[in-house]
Symmetry: C2
Subunit: 247 residues, 2 copies
DNA sequence: CCGCAATTGTGCGCAAACGCACATACATCG
DNA sequence: CGATGTATGTGCGTTTGCGCACAATTGCGG
């Protein structure tokens, strides 16, 4: 458990928007845990016993292929949750959730969350809207994979990651980044080299520091912006719902 | 309205699984309409007034880029519905729904469906499970776009389309297929030529007939099979829920 | 049954990314 | 402080798909 990070459910935006009455009902089921770098929250086709609400760090959702290759389809930080299947009812899915950046989360048994969801209160509204955010993410990844260059993928990934850790530094080896994006490690090396040459990033072994974020955004494909817009739009709706509920 | 297709809500699997009590509540809002080839049910960022439950034909969901290029992220037939945003609450999305194969559908005002969804009955269970099916589709498209060849994309697309129209013939020009997949028309021409040379398909202008489906499945990437498995699995759950509700 | 627009076929050269094979550089730990 | 395993850099040939420019064909409307 990260010492610097005091346990506080409000740090997760979804939990933070629940009215006290609803929060109380799930509170006893919540458990604060740390998310260790590389930890696999759930694997392909394994049953998802818990749902995770990160308060810090990033969880990557990777869609896997039989030969072991994969592609990241979503990045989840403190704005979201890991394990929507709990609510959708399908139990498991052919993908994997891996901690990409260490942090912490509240977890709750899938059944408990599902029960509260089905009461039809604010939690339900919040989660449904979050499903749409996720959906948009996955859809945008699909087009991005089809039409954009490796350099653009990397830029998008950097920006999305930075937004979620609230810092300008990412701790991760090039090989792992390549794994996330589903490209070769050498490709990442070259793309990083190019970004460095243009003074957009600094880096050393296992660590990338973005020093010119504006430029990075300009070099990136539209995908980052689209996701940011849509995410902001839906987050606003979430907040207005929470407010109307007197939170 | 297709003359050969008698109006029958049961022809859509989601509607067909509702218990009579629930169906009655939305029945008056249902409107039977025809889906014309090429018709755009809703465009990028336009508000979605209606939700569509196809009884025949195929609707493609295309994620669009600013430069006009796009990529298909989901195929919807009589097993599903078009317009989940109605239920998620986000109103619109950066994608487009186009009729890929003419047919018919029941449509219902988004607000009416949303209201019934929030009663928390069988409709809700059915739709949530369908959201998971959709989710899996989009995610698989993302990996497929990253790792597989044009030839494989085409095979996957043919198989998914055939399953939804219940026939072995697809009426569509190569240019349009290319548009769906987000590749060049010439690439499709070549891939089709290759499939033809291997006696997997016959074709003439604007029409493809699959004559060796087994072979096509073998030549296809795993994506088709993954989607079929997951879709079957979830559909079974949907049916058992409907049964338990005494439908 | 003829003409014409739409559809399909083909031949380039080009660019992006892959696969493989190493060379180099870095940090950590005894 | 030097050894060692991990991380990063680089070269080169190959493949896939794109872009562009036409040629060839098909089938429908008059």
């Amino acid at each position: 458990m990260p010492a610097s990070d005091r346990a506080d459910p409000q740090a997760n935006l979804l939990l933070g928007q629940l009215p006290a009455s609803e929060f109380k009902r799930i509170e006893t089921n919540l458990e604060y845990i740390s998310l260790e770098l590389g930890e696999v929250l759930y694997g392909t086709h394994s049953e998802r016993k818990y749902v995770y609400f990160p308060t810090a760090g990033i969880v990557s959702i990777l869609e896997m292929l039989q030969d072991g290759s994969s592609s990241e389809i979503a990045l989840i930080g403190n704005e979201g949750m890991v394990g929507i299947t709990a609510v959708l009812g399908g139990k498991h899915q052919p993908n994997q959730a891996v901690v990409q950046s260490a942090g912490a989360a509240y977890r709750i048994p899938a059944a408990a969350l599902n029960k509260e969801f089905r009461r039809g209160g604010i939690l339900m509204d919040q989660l449904l809207l979050y499903i749409q955010i996720l959906f948009t993410q996955v859809a945008q990844m699909a087009v991005c994979n089809r039409h954009h260059t490796l350099q653009e993928h990397l830029s998008r990934w950097l920006l999305l990651s930075l937004d979620r850790i609230g810092s300008n530094e990412i701790v991760m080896t090039q090989a792992l980044i390549a794994g996330m994006l589903g490209v070769r490690r050498e490709g990442i090396t070259r793309a990083i080299g190019a970004l460095h040459k243009q003074h957009v990033i600094e880096y050393r072994r296992g660590r990338i520091t973005v020093i010119d974020r504006d430029r990075l955004e300009k070099m990136c494909c539209e995908c980052y912006e689209v996701l940011k817009q849509e995410s902001d739009r839906l987050t606003k709706i979430q907040k207005s719902i929470a407010k109307a509920a007197g939170n």
